[in-house]
Amino acid sequence: MAAAAAFHPPRRKRRVFESYQSPFPVEVGGKDFRMCQAEILSNNVIVRNPEDIEQLYNKGYFGKGILSRSRPVYSISDPSLVAKWQGANINMPIITAKKYQYHVQWAKSVLREQGLDGCSVTKILENYTKPLELPLLKEDGAGQTAASCNRMGPSTENTELSRQSSTDTGTVVDPSPENENKGCKKACLEGDPAFAPVCGSKDQEQGDLKEVAEVSCQEHGFLVHCGCKAEESTEQRSCETMKSKECAPEYVLVQEEEECSVCPEDEAARGQENLVKKEKLVCRRNPFRIFEYLQLSLEEAFFLVYALGCLSIYYGEEPLTILKLWELFSEVKPDFKTTYMAYHYFRSKGWVPKVGLKYGTDLLLYRKGPPFYHASYSVIAELVDDNFEGSLRRPLSWKTLAGLNRTTVNASKELMLCYLIKPSDMTEKDMSTPECMKRIKVQELIVTRWVSSRERSEKDEF
């Protein structure tokens, strides 16, 4: 038995659905350097810009989608409906009518909160949520578009959707590509400018817009992209990119029922004057969009700012300096310095640390990233002085350690204690800057359970 713990190579996941891009959102060589932006909302750091989200998550697996398990993949679309309407072949989320109604209700209450009276609200919403011609509907080269897709319900294998319905509704849109674009543009501008002010020119009335922006902002945006106006105008780039992706209205397909007295497709029903309930997809705008943001842990956020310099964190309108962030995060989380140092250490070794909450520890260490390997280590961090003692964040009895080790090993991980050793002459003042890390040493220990030969042979017997 060796005195030092052996390194066990991480176990690769059997099925990997992603390809690895880069260890950090910073290119080697410094070309195409991109600054991402985040803000502080109730002591949490969130990133809103979709491109920044992609950059930070894809390159280094920073953060977690607030509506997802890890990677932000929230979609309003109902997967069972998408499967059901597979023949429709459209790239729009499909939702139930009921869900759409919820969104309408939410939008209504938001508008109400803004002081609009009931009458205006109804009018506004009716206008916004009216059925639309489907833009950009390509169907096996037919190029026809339709206002709605008719279908006899899931049991009927009716794929002849567009042509039938176009006959029904009498609307035909010229299939040429130019017109498709026009159609799209048309749909964009269809909205009353009052509700998509940011999509339009910048010289809209700033007054009530700002109000609207601030009120409706937190996790969702009703028609207006929040934050766009609330930020410094120096952030032009982000403003524009956000416009392009989020300010355009979200089109959804709502599965609605329609009573139809004549069903021309169904020969058997001809002659019957029965009312048949038909399901169809109607394209409407979503009046209450839910944007998924990326939430960064305090450690991840600080690392991106201090170690890589590729993130700016705003508090209100003010971008914070590194020292200020160090101070602020330490106030929010008293043990921040300790957990940050451990985080920084493991990142500087090329590993990906994620939060260890589920396993009762501080960090889980992944090689390369969660999609590729199972987490190898579960880490508890402690700060001690150079007499190797300190008031522990988490004093452990042997009993607790045994239990923690058991659950860790059951999840095929190893339990690691990470001691951060600071010189005894390091004062509070010294620690008020992250530069104090240069004088701090790291000691890793692995907890292993020793199986005596007796236990081993007992196991053999059975």
Binding site: M1, A3, A4, A5, F7, P23, F24, E27, V28, G29, G30, K31, D32, F33, M35, Y306, G309, P319, L320, T321, I322, L323, W326, H344, Y345, R347, S348, W351, L365, K368, V384, N387, F388, E389, S397, W398, K399, L401, A402, Y419, L420, T433, P434, E435, M437, K438, R439, K441, V442, Q443, E444, L445, I446, W450, V451, S452, S453, R454, S457, F462
Partner: protein, 485 residues
């Protein structure tokens, strides 16, 4: 008959002690492992009560069994409370190979050894001329400070497996201290992990240095004779200029050439400049005449032979042609009429590419660690952000006072028993500390101290809880750097 220890009796296959065995009843042969959930809560059922009763009966039966021992084989030993040891009254048996010690010419045993042998039925213990029962022996021998019950249980656990022979040999650490002089002196520090190395730029010898990097001569190539007859290759740095170069770089006089007026003729096939005027006499060495020349004829003489490429070369060319392009294909580059202009163009382009450094991060007392333009590779990037120092378990351990974290035993591996000699036990497999489950785990300080004491032998903590023992160790580890993904 063969004598075996009490605990061995209790070492029944778990199937017999485990109350819940629904599948065992279905006629299988001796079950290898008990199936299903263990009964862990009293449910008040008659079935459970019956199972417990049977178990208890079995235990009592075993415990009350009288053991058969050959009297002749029993070694008599006497407990000496004053010294806290046991003195043998008759010669020792086989156990003397691994246990016991000699004192004042007499064979003696430590209390725990005596107790163990008593249970094995190898010795008979006397105190004040009366034989001690096992119960009495436990009470009397273990009441001393040197050894308490948990310690003893650990000894027991490690020694005992299947019967007669102990698989591991224990030898109290205190005894070892007298024999092992190497123990304290092991100051071997295992430095693991990469030493932080600074990225040094290589200083190349002068002759290999690219000309333009030389400080003294201003910008541009310092090839002073561009207008040639075409025979001298004027554009490649030649070694012969190195000497001159060196001299001029030391001095501070102004450069001899006005590079802004020197134009390098392009004689490439795509933009032929075939008329070369006569060079300035002042630039020519002595006795070397210069003349005007029309190089058109010469240009037509070159590039006559078709270059024959091997298949590999052809393939490589084909691959490269997909993404490689000539520098001259760039219009802006073609517009540059001198090297100076070209360098200016490059500078301008790199400025555009450089990231805008936000003031709130860079114009401050504390700035980000990474300078993106200095991250030339993934490893270099990691290097730049590595600010925390590694520490080894033995660092600073030598200055710690040995405290109350005692090593209680050395444990030797089974196969080492044959080679074991009390006077020269060899290297232990592990060293053991006995602790209680309710205690705090050792502080880093205590751990360093005990690890240092142990030298290069791993330390294991034995935790006792109502007869159950678990062994844990806290081992030094260095997470390897992962660079190449």
């Amino acid at each position: 008959g063969k004598s075996f220890c009490l605990r061995a009796h209790l070492n029944l296959p778990s199937g017999r002690l485990n109350a819940a065995q629904p599948l065992a009843a279905s006629g299988r042969k001796a079950p290898k492992r008990a199936q299903g959930q263990k009964d862990f809560i009293p449910d008040g059922s008659a079935e459970q009560a019956e199972k417990l009763r049977l178990c208890q009966e079995e235990q009592w039966r075993l415990l009350s069994e009288e053991r058969v021992q050959r009297r002749g084989n029993l070694v008599k030993a006497e407990w000496k409370p004053g010294q806290g040891i046991v003195e043998l009254q008759s010669p020792a048996g086989k156990f003397w190979h691994t246990m016991g010690f000699t004192q004042h010419g007499k064979q003696c045993l430590l209390p725990e050894e005596a107790l163990y042998l008593l249970e094995c039925g190898s010795v008979q213990l006397f105190h004040r001329d009366l034989p001690l029962s096992i119960e009495e022996a436990y009470e009397i021998l273990l009441s001393q400070e040197a050894m308490d019950l948990p310690h003893y249980q650990v000894c027991w656990d490690l020694q005992l497996v299947q019967g007669a022979q102990p698989l591991t040999v224990l030898s109290p650490y205190e005894r070892q201290l007298n024999l092992e002089s190497h123990c304290k002196s092991s100051g071997k520090h295992h430095r693991c992990g990469p030493k932080p190395s600074s990225i040094l730029s290589q200083e190349k010898p002068l002759s290999e240095q690219p000309k333009e990097s030389d400080a003294g001569s201003g910008e541009g190539e310092s090839n002073p004779v561009p207008l040639d007859t075409g025979q001298k290759d004027s554009l490649s740095p030649s070694k012969s200029w190195a000497g001159d170069h060196k001299e001029s770089s030391i001095g501070t006089h102004a450069p001899r050439w006005d590079f802004s007026t020197i134009v390098l003729p392009n004689m490439a096939p795509d933009q032929p400049c075939t008329h070369l005027p006569s060079p300035d006499d002042g630039l020519l060495p002595e006795n070397v005449p210069g003349r005007e020349v029309d190089a058109a004829y010469w240009c037509s003489c070159i590039n006559q032979k078709q270059e024959k490429l091997s298949r590999k070369e052809r393939e490589q060319r084909e691959r490269e042609s997909r993404y490689k392009s000539s520098v001259n294909a760039d219009r802006e580059v073609r517009r540059c009429s001198s090297w100076q202009e070209y360098k200016a163009l490059l500078e301008q382009r790199s400025q555009q590419r450089m990231w805008k450094r936000p003031l709130h991060l860079w114009d401050q007392a504390v700035t980000p660690l990474l300078r993106p333009d200095e991250a030339t590779s993934s490893a270099a990037l990691l290097q730049q952000i590595s600010v925390l120092q590694p520490s080894h378990i033995l660092d600073g351990a030598s200055r710690l006072d040995p405290e109350d974290m005692k090593i209680h035993f050395n444990v030797y591996q089974a196969d080492a028993v044959a080679r074991f000699k009390k006077t020269n036990p060899g290297k232990p497999y592990v060293r053991m500390c006995v602790r209680s489950f309710d205690e705090q785990i050792p502080s880093l300080r205590a751990l360093k101290q005990v690890t240092y004491q142990s030298g290069d032998i791993p330390v294991v903590f034995a935790l006792v809880d109502h007869g159950e023992i678990a062994f844990y160790s806290l081992k030094e580890f260095k997470l390897p750097v992962d660079v190449n993904h």
